[in-house]
C-alpha cells in the first residue's frame, strides 16, 4: 500500500517535469527523421546493400518494409537511448537533493527502503514507457508507412529471411529484452544519483561507463576477454538474438525458432543480475546515508 503510494507520487512528479518529455520528443524526432530518409531514398540504400546478393539470389517483394525499418531503427538507437534514460533516472535522487526536497521527503513516515524501491519502480516504468513509445514509432508507424512483408536481415556472412507472420512476436520479445537492457542502464544511473547533488554528474558518469565498457568490448585483446562476458554492455544488444532463426535441412526457416535461445537467456540473466546488484547497492547506501543537502 505504502509502496504503491510512493510509486504513484514518483510517477506524478516525473511526468510533471518538462525534462521527462525531452526523451519522448527526441525519439519521435529521430525515428521520424530516419523514416523520412528511408521513405525518400530507402530503395537506393537497400539496392546498394543487396548488390552483392543479387547475383546469387532472386530477391522479390518489398524488401524495405516496416519490419526491416524497425530493425534498422532499433539497431541505430539502442546505443543512444541510454542517455535519454539517464536523463531521468540520474535525476531521481540527485535532483531531490538539489531541490532540497530529499530531506523533506525523509521527514515523512516512510521507510528509506520503501522510498528507494518506489523511486526505482517509477524510473523503471518511465524506461518501459519510453521503449513502448519507441516501439510505437519504429514498428507501428513504420508498418503503417512502409507496409508489412517478409523480413530480410543482411548480415556479414548470411541473409536471414523471416516470414511476416513470424515477425511480430519476435519484436515483442526484442522490446521486452530492450526494456531489461535499458532498466540496467537506468539502475546504474539511479545508483550513481545517490552520490551527487545535481543530475549532471550521474548522467555523465553513466554515459562514461557505457562508453568505456563498449570500447573494452570492441578491443580484441586477451587481457579484456575474461571480463567481457560480465560487462552489461556486452549483452545490451542481445535482443538481436530473437531475429536469428533456425534453418531446416532445406535451408528454410523454422517458424517460431530462435537459433541460440540459451545465449539470449543467459544474456538476459546477466542483465537482471546487474539490475538487482545496482538496486541492492542503492538500498544499502541510501539506508546509511546522512542527508546533508
Amino acid at each position: 500500500m505504502q509502496f504503491s503510494r510512493i510509486v504513484y507520487i514518483e510517477l506524478y512528479k516525473t511526468f510533471r517535469k518538462p525534462r521527462t518529455y525531452i526523451a519522448f520528443a527526441a525519439i519521435a524526432a529521430i525515428v521520424g527523421l530516419i523514416q523520412l530518409g528511408f521513405y525518400a531514398d530507402g530503395d537506393n540504400y537497400i539496392q546498394f546493400g543487396m548488390q552483392s546478393l543479387s547475383d546469387s539470389f532472386d530477391i522479390g517483394g518489398e524488401v524495405l518494409n516496416g519490419y526491416l525499418m524497425a530493425y534498422i531503427i532499433l539497431q541505430t538507437m539502442l546505443m543512444q537511448v541510454p542517455l535519454l534514460i539517464a536523463l531521468v533516472s540520474g535525476d531521481m535522487i540527485s535532483g531531490e537533493a538539489n531541490l532540497g526536497t530529499l530531506r523533506l521527503l525523509l521527514t515523512k513516515p516512510i521507510s528509506r527502503t520503501t522510498l528507494i524501491l518506489g523511486k526505482f519502480a517509477a524510473s523503471s516504468i518511465y524506461t518501459i514507457a519510453l521503449l513502448m513509445w519507441m516501439a510505437l514509432w519504429s514498428l507501428g508507424i513504420s508498418v503503417l508507412v512502409f507496409g508489412a512483408n517478409d523480413m530480410l536481415i543482411l548480415k556479414s556472412d548470411q541473409v536471414t529471411q523471416i516470414i511476416s507472420s513470424d515477425v511480430v512476436w519476435r519484436y515483442v520479445a526484442a522490446f521486452a529484452y530492450a526494456c531489461l537492457a535499458m532498466i540496467t542502464v537506468s539502475s546504474l544511473a539511479f545508483f550513481l544519483s545517490l552520490f551527487a547533488e545535481n543530475s549532471i554528474g550521474p548522467i555523465m558518469a553513466t554515459m562514461s561507463i557505457i562508453i568505456v565498457f563498449t570500447i573494452l568490448n570492441t578491443l580484441d585483446l586477451p587481457i579484456f576477454n575474461s571480463v567481457k562476458p560480465f560487462l552489461f554492455t556486452s549483452h545490451m544488444l542481445g535482443w538481436k538474438g530473437f531475429f536469428d532463426v533456425k534453418l531446416n535441412v532445406n535451408n528454410e526457416q523454422i517458424v517460431g525458432s530462435i537459433e541460440n535461445l540459451r545465449a539470449v537467456l543467459i544474456s538476459g540473466l546477466i542483465l537482471l543480475f546487474h539490475v538487482l546488484g545496482f538496486l541492492s547497492a542503492s538500498i544499502l547506501v541510501f539506508k546509511k546515508k546522512d542527508i546533508l543537502s
Binding site: 503510494r5 507520487i9 510533471r16 530531506r103 515523512k108 513516515p109 516512510i110
Partner: protein, 301 residues
Amino acid sequence: MNSVIQISHLSKRFNNFTAVDDLSFSVNEGEVYGFLGQNGAGKSTTIRMMLSLIKPTEGSINIFGLSLEKEREQILSKIGAVVEKPDLYKYLSAYENMKLFSTMCGLSLGRAEIMKQLAVVGLEKRANDRVKVFSQGMKQRLGIAVALVNNPSLIILDEPTNGLDPQGIADMRSLILMLSKEQGKTLLVSSHLLSEVEQIADSMIIIDKGKKMVEGKVSELINPEKVQVEIISLDNNAAKEVVLASQWASGLIEASLEKILLETKKELIPDLFKFLVEQGILLVSIRSTNTLESYFLSITK
C-alpha cells in the same frame, strides 16, 4: 508534564569535526522550546538527527517515549518539520505540493480540506500558483502548511524566520503562538536570535560548538529587568564623559567612538534617554540589544 523529546548524550562527528558534542535536553508536552545557537553551533545537525536524516555517532533520541532508532516511522507520523529552507517542488503548485505530501503521509485529503489548511497560512488564494513564483515568505508559509498536513503533535521549525521581512517575522510569530496556545502543539523552534525566541518560547536551550551552554525556562534565564542598552550619538566621546560622571557609570560595559553599551533596568531606559538629552547629548539612537552574543558573554563571564 510529559516529555515529548528526550535527547541523551547525543554526539555527531564528521571525520575529525565534532558538530554535536554530548548534548542532552528534554522538551515538555505543549511548550514552545527555543533552540538557540549561533550559525554553525550544531542546531541543524541536532534537528536532522531528531528527524533521522543523520545518524548520531553516539547517544539516543526518544520522542513520544519511543526510540527513534527503532520506531522511526511511528514517530515521524506525529511530527511536522521544516528543516532549514522550506524547499518544495517548484514545478508544482501550492495545492499539488500539499496533495502530494498528504498522500505521502497516507492521507486522502479532499480539495476543501487542503484549501482550509492553506488558509491557516494565508495561501488559499495562491493555491494554484506554482511554487517557483512564490516569495521567500510564501515558501516559508507553505513549508509550514506542508509540515502541518498530517496534523502533527510535535512541530520542529529550523530557523523559521530566516529570510523573512518584518511583517513575515511577525506573521510567523503569531502562527507559532497560535499553534501552541490554540491547538496545544509542542513546538521546537531553532533560531540564532534571542529576541525572537524570547517572545515565543516557554523554555530554551543555548548551544555553542555543539555543546549545551544553558537550558531552562526563558523567564528564569533571561532577567527581564536588566537589559543591555546601545547608545549612538553624534559625539560618543562627550556621551561617554557624561555617562562616566553619572549614576549610570556602574552599568557601563563598553564605550567606543561608534557606540556606548551599558546595562540597566528596562524601566529606567526612558530616564536614561531624558538624562542624556538634558545633558545636551545629540542622540542618534538608543535601543536595547539583548543579542545572543551579549547573552553569551553574560553567561560565560
